[in-house]
């Protein structure tokens, strides 16, 4: 059973739709008690890092997720803002984040660069990984982001993407996986990433 964290601004129902389509059992998780029966966690994300963190704090989910994912080591998948808040600090609202991964979250900037980045962009795979099994190198995925992560340790990076700057678009560290693009809205390739996660 996959738990999909459901918070104020999140698009958890879209992730559940995609999992159902793939034949994987899932449930929405809005409170710490609901996290007890799941064996995997997905943290979808839309909206700002600060709002997401605040929502996780006020519901008590932050501690519960950390206990299951950091303590018991169940597989975790972060999506979009669910990737960004794994790092130490975000420029968006100048907030400290979860700090599971070393690094920071920066805003896109550059002459002529439209922000947010919205649309289908290429994820170049930097190394093989079971999360990306069966996927073409350089596939297109759907991105919506004004901020990007800058990991300290290059070995956590699985894919990079170019938008004014080359940034880490998929990361993995032990049982923690995360993508900047919207896995649940990236067509057949995104569905395969989600299916791979459900089978890890």
């Amino acid at each position: 059973m996959i738990g999909v964290i459901d918070y104020e601004a999140g698009n958890a129902p879209s992730v559940v739709s995609a999992l159902t389509h793939l034949g994987h059992a899932s449930r929405l998780v809005a409170s710490p008690a609901e996290l007890g029966s799941v064996d995997r966690v997905i943290l979808p994300g839309v909206g700002s890092a600060a709002a997401t963190l605040e929502s996780l704090e006020s519901s008590g989910l932050r501690g519960a997720i950390e206990a299951r994912v950091r303590g018991e080591q169940i597989p975790f998948l972060g999506i979009c803002v669910g990737l960004q808040i794994l790092f130490e600090h975000s420029e968006e609202g100048d907030v400290p984040c979860l700090g599971w991964l070393e690094g920071r979250v920066r805003r896109f900037e550059g002459p002529g660069l439209r922000v947010p980045q919205i649309g289908w962009n290429v994820a170049e795979q930097t190394r093989e990984h079971p999360l990306l099994a069966g996927l073409p190198h350089g596939g297109h995925y759907y991105f919506v982001n004004s901020y990007y992560v800058v990991p300290v340790r290059p070995e956590v990076v699985l894919c990079t993407t170019e938008y004014g700057v080359r940034f880490a678009s998929v990361v993995a560290d032990g049982n923690v996986y995360a993508a900047q693009f919207h896995i649940e809205k990236s067509g057949p390739l995104g569905l395969r990433v989600l299916d791979n996660f459900a089978r890890l």
Binding site: N11, S48, Q117, G119, H140, S186, P188, L191
Partner: protein, 270 residues
Amino acid sequence: MLTKRIIACLDVVKGTVTKATQFQDNIAVAPAVDVIRELYRQGIDEVIFFDILASAEKRKIDIETVREVARHVFVPFTVGGGLKTLEDLRETLKAGAEKISIDSMAVRNPDLIRQGAEAFGRQCMVVSMQVKRVAKSPEIPTGFEVMIDGARVATGMDAIAWARRAESLGAGELCINSIDRDGTHSGYDIELLQQICGAVNVPVIASGGAGTVDHVLEAFRDTECSAAIVSSMLYSPRLPRNFSVSEIKAPLEAAGVPVRPNPEPFQPPA
């Protein structure tokens, strides 16, 4: 490289896709869910779904159709029509829409843009504008006026100034529909798009007038727009021929426009 998006925009009335010319004479095409599933199979990059009568009939959007689309379509989709409050926006997003499009309501209550951006992030907030060419005047120095309520009511607002304001209030994208070109299949209003793209930093979606692939190419070659809406080309019974998504993307790619290839459908192993 970020690709240029091809977006299908569907006018939906009670679960059925319809097609109008310059906001009149709607004719029924097919059930919305069937049309959207077929376009997804063909590799459409994004879908926008307007419940066109929700606003006029002062009722809420057809949330069941939104849910049904979300069950079957795994590319982004935007929903608009009849959304008035933050609670309406929340309900629509929770039904599975990625983004909300507001149009007349954004003009009547610009603060809704700000509230939506604060609550859900600016990437959720698409401000759509119905734009008509008018005589230049002190109120409308560019000669492009914003219209509302199904393009029937003039606002006296300059479209370029409104685009800037919508961006500053928190719009994450602007969808620019030319009323003069809407449903005419005579090409996008390139000058309008150039002015809007030059005025804002958020992505701009071109809408209104596409009848051939050359029109789409023109929008991407001659303006900085990030996406183009092709509705009639895909399914209008009024055009001599319709195009599949790949029949639109292939010539664009050949002309050097970056587009997303359509991947094989994914069937999970048993």
